[in-house]
Symmetry: C3
Subunit: 263 residues, 3 copies
Amino acid sequence: MITLASDFGTPYPAAMKGVILARTDARLVDVAHDFPRQDIRTAAFWLREVLPWFPPAVHLAVIDPGVGTDRTALAVRVGDHALVAPDNGVVLPAARELATSTSSTDAIEFFAIDDEGAASSTFHGRDVFAPAAAAIDEIGIADLASLDRITPMSDPVNCTLPDPALFDGRAAGEVLAVDGFGNVITNVPGDVIDHVDRVVVGGDASVGGEVPVGETFAAVDPGDRLATVGSHGNVELDVNRGRGDEAFGLSPGDTVTLEVRRD
Amino acid sequence: MITLASDFGTPYPAAMKGVILARTDARLVDVAHDFPRQDIRTAAFWLREVLPWFPPAVHLAVIDPGVGTDRTALAVRVGDHALVAPDNGVVLPAARELATSTSSTDAIEFFAIDDEGAASSTFHGRDVFAPAAAAIDEIGIADLASLDRITPMSDPVNCTLPDPALFDGRAAGEVLAVDGFGNVITNVPGDVIDHVDRVVVGGDASVGGEVPVGETFAAVDPGDRLATVGSHGNVELDVNRGRGDEAFGLSPGDTVTLEVRRD
Amino acid sequence: MITLASDFGTPYPAAMKGVILARTDARLVDVAHDFPRQDIRTAAFWLREVLPWFPPAVHLAVIDPGVGTDRTALAVRVGDHALVAPDNGVVLPAARELATSTSSTDAIEFFAIDDEGAASSTFHGRDVFAPAAAAIDEIGIADLASLDRITPMSDPVNCTLPDPALFDGRAAGEVLAVDGFGNVITNVPGDVIDHVDRVVVGGDASVGGEVPVGETFAAVDPGDRLATVGSHGNVELDVNRGRGDEAFGLSPGDTVTLEVRRD
């Protein structure tokens, strides 16, 4: 199984699929091809959230603002999973999450893929990463290290999602992403609002103030704001049947503070 | 085979696919993940139009404004097909159409899926519906009733698409949907304009008046308006190589009246 | 294997997939369903770029502004590949490219598909082309000619992508497409800017003038313009981490002139 993620839109991912299917009959599953263009951190967040739900697979992820420069092409082995991506950090949070969620006792292994002789300088998704993903699928993830054109490396470019500052009854964090519903996903862990009735939202929010905490959107009337714990386990700022990003005036990268209130 | 439909955009459907593929190797086919957000009626219309073209399959459809409330999680068996969705009516028109189109002599059977212990209150697509669809695929649709955590129920939430009022030479209906081309799909059955030369369009249309009836878009010049019978069998208001919704000023839910004219 | 391309958006392609899967268990791969509506030339360009990367397959491509008119339904055999599309030229450039790239010694063969009795006049993707693609997959591409309802034809509607005028140190061409990143893809072959340091961009560009030639986007600072050779082998006008279409003021169909400069 090979999953595919990119910021390519269409039809470039189809060229990657053609290249793969000319080499292997692996099942292909799209993760997303509409990640924000060349935005490594947002893609890194979503890959961390989504990839651990898959069974063992080769995960191809091409968000590649440095295509054609001397950035390395990267392959990663995490237990039964492999990741193939540019060496810009985009798969590092997912690799760490896979190591945790699969309880792999092996260390995460990193490899450089030789990309000499790529047919283009601008589409390594097709010319470097897709062939590498197909080759790993064919040889088997356990034998990734024995592939030609792959050499161990030790110091991949990192990408860490920001940690919030947590105080007694207060958290200072950041907006990691806004999903398609407009839900504002923060980096503040959900347990900050356990047994909390309301939070005062501040930071870069253009419309802050006190909002109720609810277990589900329907805890408030349609159109009203709330804070809840999203499916990723973090605090979300939402509107029931509406868009939290618009109601709070928050975008990815904005700071957000939460002060808890109990009745 | 499992089909997937939602209003999730990306990448949430990939998490559902990961959950399914960790449990079964069923073929997965996307119906659409860009249905209008939390719009049960529009999704119900499209599911009714599209699902009956599939061979026997489990159809997963998650348009779920009530996620996390006490709305039931629903499984439906219609002959060789199964549907898995929130109990909000979104799959009822498709279920009735499948019963008709497959000439199933069995009654439609409804089941409640136990969703106690779901990992999240906000993403039952991943935590309730995807595992249920995978389990039905594994056990087989014929044996759906024997699954754990499934109990028969008798009174699912209904969703009926509105019926038009039909008079001699006149119909008063409603816009069910606007497709990606801008074609305005009404609930008026196509036979109302059989052997008709023109119709006078009224109701909420901001630009109404008389337009020709054509068997195909090319019956009029590019940019001109017409009424035709769409692929769903209903009257559509269209523009040849243009957008009918803009030319008529009509949106889903608007009323539309048609008076027939013969030369 | 059957690939699918259209300008349908969603959910109409799912109806085509249902029809196919009711007839065959072929692997299905989406090329794109968001091609510009009814724009034959742009789709023809992208199909030519993408389809040759696939292993032998039936390629279904429905961009069909003439649906329901007397335009013919077309099947094409090119070596191990087949194409199924309306006879409006949309697959002709791809067919010629497949003939070249697969080094097929056979001539390209054209067939008319009988579409009498199609269930609709507006959705031949579902009612004519999808069943034909499934039938070709089932009988095998080599035996395409022996299918019922298929007859040889000799004079399909052509679509030629425009050729540039090439002079010593100067090219007068056209914008073929703008991709999702905003890269302006011209019809000028890449070797025109081999060993060239800068080009002066003119024609319909609202912001022309001299820009550097780079092997990769990163040859210039983020936000700066450049000319490069894209993954299709043609000259592209781009912005590093930005949109070339906006920076140059160029759209598909615009003329573009390039004058080369060497240091």
